[in-house]
Symmetry: C2
DNA sequence: GCCTCTTTCTACCAGATGGTCAGGGGACTT
DNA sequence: AAGTCCCCTGACCATCTGGTAGAAAGAGGC
């Protein structure tokens, strides 16, 4: 867990930034960087971080492993970059709602719909979340760092709503985590369905969403 | 995915049985076998199959890797044995209820409580399920084989109930899979809670269970 | 004492993995 | 034409991986 090699690697990855030459993002290599990121997301999200080899990743892209290591300093650096981009995607989707004009319960509903939309459009992203939100995952702290501020913001908003009496008083963090794990669980569910030979339909997803909303309403609605 | 090496390994593991000398279970090595199984469950369920090295596993037990390979023919054989034991645990817990005297809705409730009890007593088991129920996992077919009969039995029972009008007519398999993924998702949730610095309490689990029961009632209750 | 079976160990191996180092080539500047 | 910067690669390496071969040690039957 904390053998010297891992520790050293962690320190290095933290000191230098993940991406070589962060700051400039244009240039010929930008496209390569994106392609690597896409492939890495797919691989990490399905066969997992440990199951992904840089050689396979590279040969799938028609490049050499060293090219990956050139753009992203190390394998963990690559994972970090993937997590960062996914967190950014989720952040923009959620911020769009948080800065929209919906209020009260409508806002909650909009948030849930927004997350489910992302989950449907980018199922790989959910797979990555599932992979990363595992104890001892190398990227768990990074995910926390990338999503934490938004979570805190959502929590603060909920607590303001509670203070104003527009939401029932409960543990905001607990509700958020429940909602989060429901969405990630949805990804698992879809995979199990596929393994059982059933192609998941819109109906299963809609049912899940309805259930989550019902749960949230039961937890948050002041009348009840 | 189906490279020759993997294929060969799969065939061998399937032909010989997983455990060397299955049939006799007594002897001096029985205790060692159990200890290996315990440690393997813990490791597979937390850091995952790929993340587990036989050397680490062995040194954690104060034995040599070759001892593990003596008792369980290969790493995949070990995974298979772990999955089998967990499936057996779940099976006995569920069979106890299925052969009990509870009927109708009470039986559904008893099943859910039974599964949650197992999940609480052996959280590692849920971690393993989560690890294994991933597309492309080497043990996915084995889990299916070990749990499949019970699932089919549950499904058949539900369909009989539907025919008799004691349950609302829906897709039994879909309901079962939803319930399954909720329980496995619970494991994720507990881990995320821990990562967020909150020790999961009985309350969070109870809430989840109540939610699942509500979902099942909504899906199955004939009045509504 | 001898034989057999079980269990565990030491020694070793081929392959894969993440990572380093030095260099080549293109584009753009001066 | 020379220098410089960015992008990419071939050759190489230390380490770790799951797995094999063979022997030592003990227990028990004859």
């Amino acid at each position: 867990m904390t053998d010297p090699a891992t520790l050293r690697e962690t320190v290095r990855d933290t000191v230098r930034d993940t991406v070589r030459g962060a700051g400039r993002s244009s240039g010929r290599g930008a496209e390569t960087r994106e392609r690597i990121l896409d492939a890495a997301l797919e691989s990490f999200g399905t066969i997992g971080y440990d199951g992904t080899s840089l050689d396979d990743l590279a040969s799938g892209l028609g490049i050499r492993k060293q090219t990956i290591l050139y753009h992203y300093v190390s394998k963990r650096g690559l994972l970090g970059a993937v997590v960062d981009r996914c967190a950014a995607d989720l952040n923009t989707a959620l911020l769009e709602v948080l800065e929209g004009e919906a209020t009260d319960w409508e806002r909650v509903e909009a948030l849930v719909r927004s997350v489910f939309r992302v989950a449907l459009e980018q199922p790989l992203l959910m797979g990555l979340l599932r992979e990363v939100s595992r104890p001892g995952s190398p990227a768990a702290p990074r995910l926390k760092g990338a999503m934490g501020p938004l979570m805190e913001r959502a929590q603060a908003w909920m607590e303001r709503e509670m203070d104003a009496g527009r939401m029932r008083r409960t543990d905001a963090q607990l509700v958020l985590i429940s909602a989060y794990s429901t969405v990630v669980g949805l990804a698992t569910e879809v995979e199990v369905l596929r393994a059982a030979g059933l192609e998941p339909t819109m109906r299963t997803v809609a049912t899940r969403r309805r259930e989550l909303l019902r749960f949230l309403r039961a937890s948050l609605d002041p009348q009840r």
